[in-house]
């Protein structure tokens, strides 16, 4: 809007505040944009509005109580957080998790990944203006929430893992329902693709927007689908297998150009791969116990470790220090994938238009509960 003829008029940069109350910042994210016309000159991301001090809080909770706190970080993928935390403590205590528990964990993680991606797809499409996809994706997410409700009684914050295994075995008939869901879901993914993948407006809105090369993506610390969208085949499920992923057959989709469209394609393909993994995990579900040999009082020996798993958003890592004396961790630290991915936002949106900012916030898929903890 402002002219570039230089001497004729003074152009002013317009500073606008996107958020913390803004319909498409996915929570309480605040982005201060410096605009030249509608083009973003520079930006500053302000976070911390949802900081609840979970890390500090955990230092005064015992080891089992913390599982509940991890639910509240990435609240759209609570089960994955649970698994990550439990595995870290298991690693500290050197507990062997039974095979059945590992299979169920795998299935639950992947269900959670689908649910999280459904939410991402819905909100991302909504930001770009395709509002029907939003409700379609939520329709399928609802099915997953029903499955989770049947499994652990909760629909959002599951608290569904225990150190050393699972709190409870799967309900009777649950495995059949999960397989049914897989059948439904694989059709619905095609439906999403029909609405968006070859839609010309969608292509124009996402192709070439927010391009980040593989080197830049690694340097800035992107992980998960945004990193794979840039063509780096890094997936912790493959590289450092945990739970039962080493026994599963699945592919890691990677993009080529590192733009919003590729990140979208990667996530859509992950829907299919997740369905594939769930099928394998449920069909090959071994019999056996669901909890390993866990002492009555969970008190890991003094020591520290860092353990990461692949959450739907990227690498979620836990750095835990135990002093070996008390029943709570000495230091509990989460490496939140959303936080590290969000760091790339200023780099991504620079030079793009305001309308692309919302597309890009959606494209890196942040959950503010996890960013701020």
């Amino acid at each position: 809007m402002t002219t570039h003829t230089g001497q004729m008029f003074d152009t002013e940069e317009l500073v606008i505040n996107m958020g913390p109350q803004h319909p498409s910042t996915h929570g309480v994210l605040r982005v201060v944009l410096r605009l030249d016309g509608e083009k973003v000159v520079s930006s500053d991301v302000v976070i911390g509005y949802l900081h609840r001090g979970i890390e500090k809080l955990s230092e005064n909770r015992n080891w089992t109580q913390i599982i509940l706190l991890t639910d509240r970080m990435d609240y759209v993928a609570a089960a994955t957080n649970n698994v990550g935390y439990c595995q870290t403590v298991e690693k500290l205590m050197q507990i062997e998790v039974p095979r059945r528990a590992r299979y169920i964990r795998t299935a639950i993680c992947e269900l959670q990944r689908i649910a999280s991606h459904c939410l991402w797809l819905g909100t991302h499409a909504m930001d770009i203006g395709a509002m029907t996809v939003f409700l379609y994706a939520f329709r399928e997410r609802e099915l997953i929430l029903d499955l989770f409700e049947e499994y652990c009684g909760a629909r959002l914050t599951y608290n569904s893992m225990r150190i050393g295994g699972l709190p409870l075995d799967i309900p009777v008939g649950w495995d059949r329902k999960v397989l049914e869901f897989c059948t439904i879901m694989s059709e619905k993914v095609d439906e999403y693709e029909e609405l968006l993948t070859h839609n010309r407006i969608w292509l124009e809105r996402t192709r070439g927007i927010g391009v980040i090369t593989a080197e830049q993506a690694i340097a800035i610390g992107l992980s998960g689908p945004p990193l794979r969208g840039s063509g780096v085949p890094r997936d912790i499920r493959k590289d450092e297998p945990y739970a039962a992923y080493d026994e599963m057959k699945f592919d890691v989709p990677v993009g080529t150009s590192g733009d919003t469209y590729d990140r979208y394609l990667v996530r859509l393909e992950e829907f299919r791969q997740s369905i594939r993994i769930i099928r394998q995990a449920i069909q090959g579900l071994p019999e056996g116990p669901i909890v390993g040999k866990v002492p009555r009082l969970i008190k890991p020996p003094a020591g520290e470790t860092y353990h990461a798993i692949e959450s739907p958003k990227g690498e979620i890592g836990y750095f835990i220090v135990s002093d070996g004396k008390s029943t709570n961790p000495y230091r509990f630290r989460v490496r939140p994938p959303s936080f590290c991915n969000l760091q790339a936002l200023p780099q991504l949106i620079k030079g793009h238009l305001v309308a692309d900012v919302v597309a890009l916030i959606g494209s890196i898929d942040v959950v503010l509960g996890e960013v701020d903890r």
């Binding site: 976070i47 911390g48 900081h51 001090g53 890390e55 500090k56 005064n60 690693k91 500290l92 050197q94 690694i218 340097a219 800035i220 610390g221 992980s223 780096v232 890094r234 590289d239 450092e240 003094a302 020591g303 520290e304 470790t305 860092y306 990461a308 690498e315 890592g317 750095f319 220090v321 002093d323 070996g324 004396k325 008390s326 000495y330 230091r331 630290r333 490496r335 936080f339 590290c340 969000l342 760091q343 701020d372 903890r373």
Partner: protein, 192 residues
């Protein structure tokens, strides 16, 4: 009866006979005097590095072909108040080529400078801001050292072990350290 606060992490040395992998042994070989201690626990290798050698080691770890730690997973810290160098600043590194991990550790006293590695791994930018914000570790050479999670005018550093966990709301918000002193004085007077 509370147990006495621990004076530091265990950092156990690798068990005898355990082969030290190349990416750990290469550091000392390349930069003499850079490794204070090598530790191994539940499968994780950690290396303690003096703060003044940190940048050199970090650059070596990123650029050397056999280490190739191009991905900075995490930067965090832990606080051990009884120790003179109370902070452990921990860098979790990962190599997307070789798929191995290592942890670098730097010990620092309150106010002691720890050089920023954000020039080597841009990913460390926000993570170091968080370490500064929550622990008050004096990260130097950082391009944009501001608080990140806490409000800009926050007093004190919440993740420190001596940060008060309770107190009269507003006073705690505005100046936790004053409250701490007040509380200490009160307790002392009660004892007398």
């Amino acid at each position: 009866m509370k147990p006495a606060p621990p004076s530091g992490p265990t950092d156990p040395a690798p068990p005898a006979g355990m082969a030290v992998p190349a990416f750990v042994s290469a550091i000392e070989a390349a930069i003499p005097g850079s490794v204070t201690q090598v530790s191994y626990y539940v499968g994780d290798w950690a290396v303690i590095v003096p703060a003044d050698k940190l940048l050199e080691v970090a650059r070596f770890l990123r650029d050397s072909r056999e280490t190739a730690f191009d991905f900075c997973s995490d930067v965090t810290a832990s606080d051990w108040p009884p120790r003179p160098q109370r902070f452990d600043v921990v860098y979790c590194l990962y190599s997307t080529k070789h798929h191995h991990r290592i942890r670098l550790k730097v010990r620092a006293a309150d106010g002691e400078a720890v050089p920023s590695v954000s020039g080597i791994w841009p990913a460390a930018n926000w993570l170091e801001r968080e370490v500064y914000d929550l622990f008050g570790v004096n990260i130097t050479g950082h391009p944009d050292r501001r608080r990140i999670l806490m409000p800009e005018d926050w007093q004190g550093f919440p993740q420190r072990k001596d940060y008060p966990l309770e107190g009269p709301g507003e006073l705690l918000m505005e100046n936790p350290l004053d409250w701490l002193r007040l509380k200490q004085a009160r307790e002392e007077s009660e004892i007398e």
